[in-house]
Structure formats: C-alpha cells, structure tokens
Amino acid sequence: MNSKPAAPTGQVRPAPEDRRGFLKKSLTLSGGAVAALAGAGVARAQGDPAILKLPAHSTGLGQPVAARGYGMPSEFEKNLQRRESPGLTRAGQSSVAFTPLQGLFGIITPNGLHFERHHQGWWDIDPRQHRLMVHGLVRESRIYNMDDLMRLPSVSRIHFIECGANTGMEWGNVAVPTVQYTHGMLSCCEFTGVPLSKLLEHCGADIKKGRYVLAEGADGSGLTRTIGMDRALDDVIVAWGMNGEFLRPENGYPLRLVVPGVQGVSWVKWLRRLEVGDKPWDTREETLHYIDLMPDGLHRQYSSVQECKSVITTPSGGQVLLNKGQYNVTGLAWSGRGRVRRVDVSFDGGRNWKEARLENPVLTKALTRFNIDWVWNGGPAILQSRAIDDTGYVQPKIAQLRAVRGTRSIYHNNAIQSWLVAANGEVSNVQVE
C-alpha cells in the first residue's frame, strides 16, 4: 500500500469553548468505547449542543429594519479597533491610531478602521463653509466650494495609503508585538473625486514653468506638502468620496488629496489650497520630518514613493494556532510604483519559497490580498512573505535595507516581515538574518 505521510492533525491546545471536549471524545473513540460510556456521556456523544439545541435566534422574532439607521459591526467584532501605540506620542492630537490588519479581509479598509494620523487634531468641518483655492502660476486664481467641485467630471479609484513611517519602529530591532503596530499605518479605500489635472487645466496652470504644486490643509497645522507636476498631472485626485460615502472627519472631511503610491503625509486632509510654483517649498514636513537619515548623516528629502512591500496578517504576532493541520495563510501586498506581480511565502525563515495565490482584483497602487495553503506540523516555523511588483522590484530583507540606509532612517522600511510560530502555536514578531 502506498503510504503517504499522515497529514498532521491534532489539537495543540483546546479552544476554550471546547473545554468539555465532547466532540473529541465522540469522534475519536471507537464504537466500543462510545458504548462503554454511560449516562451523560452518551447524551453528549449524540452531537454538538449548538446543533441539537435550537438557539433563540432560530426560535424567536428578530429585530426590525432600520433599528440602527447607520449599521454597526456585530457586538462580537468589538475587539477590532483603531489603537494608539502606547508611549509613541504624548498628545493624542499629534499621534497615530493603527488599523487592526490582523482581523481584516480582502483589500478594502472599512471607513471606521482607516488609520489616523493628525498633526494638530481633527475637525468635523461644515462642508457648506469649505473652500478650495487654486492659485500661483495659473491663468486665473480660482475659488471652488463643494458644490462646484462635485459638478466636475469625477473618477473612483481604489488606492492604498501608507504612512512613510509605517514599520518605522522596527529599523533597529523588533519593537512592537503585533501586525497592527508593525504595519497598521496602512489602509486602502475607493476614493472618489476630480482628477487634479482637471482643476489645473481649469485654472490654466503654467505647467512649463510651474513644476510643483503645494497642497495645504485647513486644520491648525496647516499641513503643507509639495507634489511634483508630473505626478500632479498623472493620477492625483482631489477627493471627497471614500468607500461610497463622504470622507470621514478623521480622514479629511470634506476634501483631501489622494496621491497614489506616495506616503500618506502628502495626502493632505481638509484640503483648502493648491498653489502652482516653480520650486519645491521645503516645508516643515519636507525639511524636519518625513526626511530619511542616512548613515553619513545626510537626510534624504522628498522621499515619497512607498516601495513594494507585503506582510502576512494571519497568522501574525500575538496570535496562537489552536490546531495542527490546514491553514489559509493570508496577507497584503502593495507597491507605490504599480501593480503587485507576485507574492512568495516562506515557512522556513526564507530558505525556501512558494508562490501565493493573488485574489482579484489586482490594481495599481492598491492593496492586493494573497493566500497560501499551509499544513502546520506542530513544529516551529518562521513565516515570511515577499512581494514583487510589475517593475520587477523585489521586496528586500531588513539586512539589505540596512546595508544601504542604516538603522536610523525612521521612514520607508519595506522589509520582509518574519513571524515565528513556536511549537505551542504562539506567533511572535522576530527578525532573521
């Protein structure tokens, strides 16, 4: 007889709801042994009470329509929340709330879980009072209100947004335990708005002399970033829509810039002003922050592109595998330069790799969901994913990044992430060489 190795199965640890172990007994004991069980044992062996005893929701009347005018997630999903990294900042108005990537599916981030980064607190701005000014090297400086903007030809496109400092705490060593904190300054939505190129055309921008556009927010920080004209004319959107509804206040209601492939700070929220100019502005977020320190002491300025990157989200740090056997290992891949072409996954810390399945759609400058089957044999393993984009760029190892950029860059860490699975099923954040 052909003896295939037996698939590894078996409980590593009991799921709490199974602690009476009725199923294990009923399914693994032989007929004779079951017969030997007396009384209560026999009753349990008949099956799962969740099936045998009809629950209230099958035997009663449920809730009416519109009981909640704006629907909310199930009570059982309450643990998936945006969270701050303790001690990262002192003031909540100048801080970050990370997206719980460990529990999400597909590529779209639910609006309420989109990561937050504010420089001087967020506001819920009255859209009737909001104005956008376009001026500088233009034929005519113009003012638009929301009514005006929503009359212009619109587009809806799915793009990821990633903070330049995402994974920034991990440049030197492992610093945080879970994927929410290592990679959670990352979200992906369908954004609706007018292409910036249309607005620039409408105002008669001098695109020969005016090689740069300054974008400015209406909040207290008046956040400002320079966008190169080539990019401004390419795929930048002045957006009001987010996943089919208006932007959330925390994400710039009623108007923000969408700069596909570029770090989040350039996606100016509460957008009030666009100025066309002949030089970059060297604003505070371009000379003191969002600059990458290199080993020679020079800071790289205007490092904007979010290079190809991926991470396994399930299983990930802080989680535990209950059983040996089959798993659907899943994660996210993205590139600020285009589409994800391929994702490879390793279960042995990078010695051997297998190509993962990409879920559709695979869109340019958007998150791409990947999956791969894995049969866990109960031994230790190191899980990694590696993305390749359509320019041929391969996501590097942390050692390869450090060799060029050192460990103090803060920004643009797109290294391969490693998750150690211990024999007891616990998953933790590690770095390997």
Binding site: P100, Q102, G297, R300, Q319, E433
Partner: protein
C-alpha cells in the same frame, strides 16, 4: 448674462458663418459656471507659506529678548523654558557645536546615538518661521503677528547659539542667518524615491530554493515587553483558527465570551480629551501639569473654586503647581468649561 443676450449671441454665431463658429468653439470655457475668480484679499488671507528661498516672507522684525518674553508666555508649557524639554514633544534645542555652524553639517547626525533635536536637523530658516507662523501656539495656531514670529524665531536661534543675545531678526537678515544654520548642507534629493521614474536604491533577488544559510533569529521581543501594547485578547477576534495569545497567565487561550458592553463614556472626560487637557494632565498622576486629584484636593474647601478654575483654564496661569505655565484655552464654551471644571473637582 441675460437670456436675451445668450439668444442674441447664438443668432450672431449662426449668421456669421463657419469661421466665426469655429473661433467661438475654441474659446468655449472649460466647465462653465464652476468656481469663480479669487480676490486679492482672499489670496492674501490664505497664501501664508514661506518657501525655502524665502519667497513669501512678510516684512517685520523681532528681538531675542522680545522672543524670550513671548516664549515664556506661550511656548514653555510644551517645549520647556529653553526649548530643551522632552516631555511633550521631542526637544527643539541641543546637540550642535560651533564646528557644525562652520561646516553646515551637524557631525552628531553621522555618529548616531543622540536624540535628534529640531536645531540639529534644521536646514532651512524658512521652515522655522513658516511653521511657527502657521501652526503655533499648538492650541491657538495662526494667532501670532509677523513681528512675534520673528521674535520667537530669534529666541530659538539664540538658544541654539546661532545668533547672539542682542540679535534682532528681520526679513532683511533672514538670508544671513540661513548661511549660519548648523545643518544647512544636510539635505539631499539625490535618490530615486521622489520622481515618478526614480530608480530604487536597494535591489534584492527572488531566490526560491535553498537560499542562503540557515536563518538565525537576530531580534525578538523580550518577555517583559510582550505586554507593552496591551492585552492581545482584547485586540483579536474571539473565534476562528487563530486566537489571541493570553498574556495574563493561566489559560493560554482566551475564553470565548461575548464582549462586555463598553462602559458609557463620561461626557466630561470626552470633553477633556477633545480639548487637549489630557496631554498634560491625568486623573491620578502628576505629569507636565498637576493630577486632577491634586487639584480637587487643593480646592475641596474652597467654595469659589469652580469660578476660580474656570477663569484659570480660560486665560491660563502659572506658579501654583510649578514653573511650567498652563496655556489659555480661550475657545472653550462657558458651559463646556463648567462641565470640565466640575468634573475635575470631583476627582478622587
């Protein structure tokens, strides 16, 4: 334009033949009726940016000594008396040498190990001026006059030993100060991460089999740090093939229990968070400012405490709990202010 005029135009175009029609078509405005011209006053009100080459810098001046007075009143609560404080934000001042001012490169940035202060990174004087002008003070941005911004900029430069005590900064000498900034030569745009066609600086290969030596774990979280980001059980779904690791000991896997209803948020507490009080205060522990419990204990016997504290929150104060001043919160509504103060006075 009236309806009649429109009609007349159409008639004119029809009568004048194909040539005129073509001309009228090329002149057809893009997106008619959308937006309007900006007035000069509107542009002046919003166009506040000062560029790296100092374009946009308004006239004005301010001395180091005036800056010091303003600093004590408006800035010390977050940045400390000399801009060196690390409590609220990273320090502004420290870490540079006279040699750095000569070379325009801060040597400590190449060495590493030290905390990077603002003045160590500062490569454009415009940045300092523009940011103070647009975003400071933190809870009342865009309320400083141009002269005040010059004075505060002068004070900071003085704290960084870049200008002398007697210095008066103005639009006339900003460029001279730029030439003295310790890290003025410290920025580079020589990389492929800006341009849409930029080339990557790191290149990796996608080996598939028997790649490299046996992997070695070089970094992991020490046991004591595993709980630094809270209880994983509260941050993961309660069912599914992977669960949260329980850090609380005992059962290694969290029991499946429906989440308890969140306690109703205290509206006064929400108000305190929103107003920014919690940046400096907590209920029990002294931070930058006194704990609310300390304030409540001090004023317990004082029948006029409520009005006294409301005035203090509104206009700011200093000296009761130490030298760090409390900034004014002038924008708080009377009713919110009362709710807040009553809540603070109830803290035990």
């Amino acid at each position: 334009m009236s309806r009649w005029n429109n009609a007349k135009l159409v008639v004119f175009a029809l009568a004048a033949g194909a040539c005129v029609q073509a001309a009228a078509q090329t002149a057809k405005p893009l997106y008619p009726g959308v937006g309007r011209a900006a007035t000069n006053a509107e542009i002046a009100a919003w166009d506040i940016d000062v560029r790296g080459d100092l374009k946009g810098l308004p006239p004005g001046s301010g001395s180091v000594s005036r800056g010091e007075t303003l600093w004590e009143a408006k800035c010390t609560s977050c940045h400390g008396s000399f801009g060196e404080s690390n409590q609220m934000f990273p320090p502004l001042i420290g870490g540079i040498t006279p040699e750095d001012i000569k070379t325009g490169r801060v040597a400590a940035l190449a060495k590493g190990g030290e905390q990077r202060t603002t003045v160590m990174k500062l490569s454009r004087i415009s940045t300092l001026w523009d940011y103070i002008n647009r975003a400071m003070p933190w809870n009342a941005p865009k309320t400083l006059t141009a002269d005040e911004v010059y004075a505060l900029t002068a004070y900071l430069l003085n704290q960084g030993n870049i200008v002398p005590d007697s210095f008066v900064l103005s639009d006339k000498n900003m460029a001279e100060v730029q030439a003295r900034l310790p890290n003025r030569n410290g920025l580079t745009r020589d990389h492929g991460l800006w341009d849409t066609r930029g080339k990557p600086d790191v290149s990796a290969k996608a080996c598939m089999k028997n790649c490299g030596p046996e992997p070695r774990i070089t970094s992991s979280l020490p046991d004591h740090a595993r709980g630094s980001h809270g209880d994983f059980v509260e941050q993961n779904r309660l069912f599914g093939p992977v669960r949260a690791v329980s850090l609380s000991g005992g059962a290694a896997v969290a029991a499946v229990t429906p989440p308890a209803a969140a306690p109703a948020a205290d509206p006064a507490q929400a108000l305190a968070v929103k107003a920014g009080c919690m940046a400096c205060h907590t209920a029990k522990q002294r931070g930058i400012g006194p704990a609310f419990a300390e304030i409540a204990a001090k004023y317990r016997a004082d029948s006029g405490a409520e009005n006294k504290l409301m005035a203090k929150v509104k206009s700011g104060g200093q000296g009761v709990w130490g030298n760090i001043p409390m900034p004014p919160f002038a924008n708080l509504q009377e009713q919110d202010l009362r709710t807040l103060v009553r809540w603070i006075l109830k803290t035990e």
